[in-house]
């Protein structure tokens, strides 16, 4: 089959091929060309533009100047959610071993008065009623209710010396 003859015809339809096979192929081509396109009736075309307009209106987006409040609200909500729910980052724990001597002396100066004050505090001034109120009577010490006359002083001394 002469391919070139068909190509020539496609370039210039006045160049009819001479071979039988080529003519048969072109007959098929003509048959396809002659198939009329099915044409809808006038009612269809009368409504075509109106239906298209409806479709266009449905697909139209709001202009940016109308859409920006929605975008802003969305972005703000997203930022707020991020701030609230962002994963906490582990912070480096302050270690006294890492501090310089100057740093340690500064801390010492700041805390020394407080420590001294605590040490000097008279334990006798502790209000045990407040402690009982705070910790309740479930304390192991509360139900002991010791009678000092029953305490063997010598035995206690010996135990004290032994255990320290």
């Amino acid at each position: 089959m002469d391919k070139k003859a068909i190509y020539d015809y496609l370039d210039d339809p006045s160049q009819n091929p001479k071979g039988q096979e080529e003519r048969e192929l072109l007959a098929l081509l003509h048959e396809l060309e002659e198939q009329p396109a099915a044409e809808p009736d006038q009612v269809y075309w009368n409504n075509f533009n109106a239906r298209l307009q409806t479709r266009l209106d449905k697909g139209k987006r709001r202009p940016w100047y109308l859409a920006w409040p929605a975008w802003t609200a969305t972005l703000l909500s997203a930022a707020l959610l991020f701030v609230v729910f962002r994963p906490s980052e582990p912070t480096a724990a302050l270690s006294l071993a890492d501090l310089s001597n100057e740093g340690l002396s500064l801390i010492s100066e700041a805390y020394e008065p407080l420590i001294e004050e605590e040490v000097e505090m008279d334990l006798a001034d502790v209000d045990y009623d407040l402690l009982l109120e705070a910790y309740g009577t479930d304390s192991w010490a509360a139900p002991l209710d010791l009678d000092t006359s029953e305490i063997d002083v010598e035995e206690l001394k010996a135990l004290w010396n032994q255990e320290g």
Partner: protein, 192 residues
């Protein structure tokens, strides 16, 4: 073949008219787009119909093609004619549609009802049967050959016009048409 429409395709005056309508549309004149729709809606529908063979699907594709054109017309650079650009959109939509497998079977509608009415009933039936056979044979062609043949035989398009729409070279169009015709002949006459 509709010679008036075919003439319009290659008519530079028609292209100038299109460019004028596009300029008006770009500057906000929506009526200009309606005029473009009026001018090309039948051709868009006809191309879609060639691919789908069903009125509802062709209608949906034609409408979608114009929606796409409307959305993208402001970025139309005029490298090809508006008609070529529009038919390329239609062809691509039709190809994607057929590729998706959603295309329904031939509705059985007779495209040439007028012709059939003018012939004797038996002749009309034979004619319709032959055309139905040809349509079914086309669906058995490889997609590229099928698409090229359907466009080439639409309104006697030139190979250059088909190549522009298919985004390939005229040589590829000729090769596809030749191979499609050869394959069609084998399908229709399996013994030969």
């Amino acid at each position: 073949m509709d010679t008036d429409q075919a003439k319009k395709v290659r008519d530079p005056a028609s292209n100038l008219e299109d460019m004028d309508l596009i300029s008006r549309f770009v500057t906000g004149d929506e009526r200009a787009f309606s005029e473009l729709v009026n001018k090309y809606r039948k051709q868009v529908y006809a191309v879609a119909r060639r691919f789908t063979k069903n009125h509802e699907e062709a209608d949906d594709l034609a409408q979608e093609a114009f929606v796409k054109a409307y959305k993208n017309l402001k970025s139309f650079r005029g490298e090809s004619g508006f008609k070529t650009w529009l038919l390329r959109i239609t062809t691509n939509l039709s190809i994607n549609y057929t590729k998706s497998g959603r295309v329904s079977k031939d509705s059985g509608e007779t495209p040439n009802e007028g012709e059939a009415r003018n012939t004797a009933p038996l002749d009309g039936m034979i004619l319709n049967e032959q055309k139905g056979e040809l349509r079914r044979a086309i669906t058995r062609l490889p997609p590229k050959q099928q698409q090229t043949l359907l466009l080439k035989t639409y309104q006697n398009m030139t190979c250059e016009e088909v190549a522009n729409i298919m985004n390939c070279s005229p040589g590829t169009v000729k090769a596809n048409v030749f191979n499609a015709l050869k394959r069609l002949k084998q399908i229709l006459n399996p013994g030969m």
